[in-house]
Symmetry: C2
DNA sequence: TATAAATGCAATATATATATTGCATTTTGA
DNA sequence: TCAAAATGCAATATATATATTGCATTTATA
């Protein structure tokens, strides 16, 4: 399913997918697909996203 | 670095690497290598491990 | 001790995360 | 409105997560 928490956290920092991707060092598509819930990022990428957005793993990637 | 929190959580449930791996549906080596910090699991695998061990992502995979 | 179970290690094979490019569509702001 | 920016989508290529097998080493238990 879509990762709306990620999308919201990115909006909170006023970053485009491209800007976030550049900051982390991945492609824009990777960020876009994660937000769309169309794939399965690695732990290291999740951690890099968390640090860029000042969130924790549970904040952005835990699903209840 | 090694993931000692994972190793401890597994010990707390008295599961071998093999038993945990079978419960999750991955190979024993995958669990072993994650504990040794020798690679980078996917988010879905991290979530499966968390559920099997009754922990959260931050419990097992957050590094300060 | 012995013996079995658990773990580490290494090599090869396969599935899939991620990159790259290009274009279509949607959203935003002048 | 309209133009630019942001996002979605699709195809192909590459890097790497994971499986598989077999064996060595360590750890637990009788």
């Amino acid at each position: 399913m879509k990762n709306l928490k990620l999308k919201a956290a990115r909006a909170e920092k006023n970053l485009s997918q491209q800007e976030l991707a550049e900051q982390i060092g991945v492609s824009r598509q990777t960020i876009g697909l994660i937000e769309l819930g169309k794939y399965n990022p690695t732990l290291q990428l999740c951690l890099a996203i968390c640090k860029a957005l000042s969130k924790t793993l549970d904040d952005l990637f835990w699903e209840d």
